[in-house]
Amino acid sequence: MIQLHNVYMSYQGDGAALSNVTLKIAKGEFVFLTGVSGAGKSTLLKLLYGALQPTRGQVVIDGVNVSKLPSSQLPFLRRKVGVVFQDFKLLSNRSVLENVALTLEVLGWGKKDINKRVYHILKQMGLEHKLNSTPLRLSGGEQQRIALARALVNEPKIILADEPTGNLDEESREKVLSILKEANIRGSTVVIATHDRRLIESSHKRLIVLDKGHIVEDSDES
């Protein structure tokens, strides 16, 4: 499903954010990605949804070589990938409903189906009563769950979640984790970048540790 081969990534002028990363994540896997702040987790995820192109090396998602993908094809890759951004990226002038609906509108869903589906997922997140709020009128944790809902609403093949529980309490965190696990059971491949040791430890899933852009540990290989 996801393959990285000798990937090297450096932002203009800076040193390498990722060095020589080779990685294989099979369809249906559930993976944690961890490492100190600035280790390159977000950078790695950005490569997987085509927000960045690797400086060197190959990134293959679902059989498609992202580095060789013409930009007109990129949207179709992104529709298979649901992303929870570390900074949420919610649109502050749209309601919660509209923010979550975006993913489905892009796919051409009809209004009725969208409303039904969005209500369903917001209810799962415990936020159905905030449907008509705007993101700026939500608490930090509520925003984070909206971002999660937007990523999951179309049940994408791949779910990339960048620090999805940083603003959540124990209980919400458990709920979010179980929702992600359910999606995983239904077939989605899940990659979660997180600092949350407790989350990682309680899950007994594959763990990849980054440090200064290198993979220093991969529980699957050791």
Partner: protein, 314 residues
């Protein structure tokens, strides 16, 4: 909810181009509503820019009209030996009519000539004591068609006229026609320069303003791309929004212009005992109005398109 249900996406909004368009238009109007302050500022600026443009056009149209009136004075006078019989006169007229560029022919008899002459001498009528009308020749005054009033066309016309045997002399104020012609060219040149200038300025003002509003929404553009929207899907609502802004802006400008025009008509009448209807102060012709509205639409469209290019490089 099983995966199967969802993975196969449910029925589309409305299938086909119509459904898509419906979605895009709805999206565009929702966007306008959700970004109302920015949209109002943009539409305001477009209105003002178009107000200047349409005002310039209005002035231009009326100036054109005035200069046309002036050019009515370009006239050629043909003199002939002695008096002509009515039959000869009408053959002569017919021959002149046949020359390309003739608009109108007036016969001026000796009596009329004398009358006019004494009119011009107002205050010095003493001079005419003892002058009989027989001193003055009768003549034909020929008005030319609009397109034949510049200096070259007139001299070409006169050359043709001179070929008619009965005509002995042709007068047409060569010097005056030349100067008038120059003046008209200059006015036209200046007018086109100014108009071109204003059009350019308006185009850039509108484009700049739209660029600013899109700038303020670059996060939205970025996110749409990240969520898997195609370039077209991102752009179309913005383009529709641009068209709406352009058309609304142009319409508001035209409404205000109409208001000002009517107020001016009314007040000029009142304050200056200047009969505006008689003076023929024109409003913009329908063609110009349509052009302005289309211009607004096109400008909004192209302004958005150009601005989007900078941000959508998926």
């Amino acid at each position: 909810m099983s995966r199967k249900n969802v993975a196969k996406r449910p029925k589309l909004a409305r299938e086909g181009v119509g459904g898509r368009l419906h979605y895009f238009v709805e999206r565009a109007f929702t966007n306008i509503r959700q970004n109302l302050p920015v949209n109002l500022l943009t539409i305001g600026t477009i209105s003002l820019a178009f107000l200047i443009l349409s005002l310039a056009l209005l002035i231009f149209v009326n100036l054109e009209r005035v200069t046309e009136t002036w050019s009515d004075r370009v006239q050629v006078t043909a003199y002939f030996e002695g008096d002509l019989s009515p039959g000869d006169l009408s053959t002569l007229k017919a021959r002149i009519k046949a020359i390309k560029g003739t608009a109108d022919i007036d016969y001026v008899s000796r009596e009329e000539a004398l009358q006019r002459f004494s009119g011009r001498l107002k205050g010095q009528e003493a001079l005419l004591e003892g002058v009989s009308y027989e001193i003055l020749p009768s003549s034909l005054e020929i008005h030319l068609k609009k397109d034949n009033r510049d200096s070259e066309a007139v001299s070409r016309y006169v050359a043709q006229l001179k070929k008619i045997p009965l005509i002995t002399e042709v007068q047409y104020g060569e010097e005056w026609v030349k100067r008038f012609s120059h003046f008209m060219n200059l006015v036209r040149f200046a007018g086109i320069l100014v108009a071109g200038f204003i059009v350019l300025a308006v185009v850039f003002i509108v484009a700049n303003t739209i660029k600013l509003t899109i700038y303020a929404r670059k996060d939205e553009l970025e996110l749409m791309g990240l969520v898997g929207a195609t370039r077209l899907f991102i752009k179309v609502p913005f383009l529709i929004e641009g068209v709406v802004q352009g058309v609304v802006g142009a319409s508001v400008a035209l409404l205000v212009l109409t208001g000002v025009y009517l107020a001016f008509l009314h007040n000029a009448d009142f304050f200056f005992s200047f009969n505006t209807i008689e003076a023929g102060l024109l409003f913009l012709p329908a063609s110009h109005i349509v052009a302005l509205l289309f211009g607004g639409a096109a400008l909004g469209f192209l302004g958005s398109l150009a601005s989007l290019k900078r941000f959508i490089s998926l």
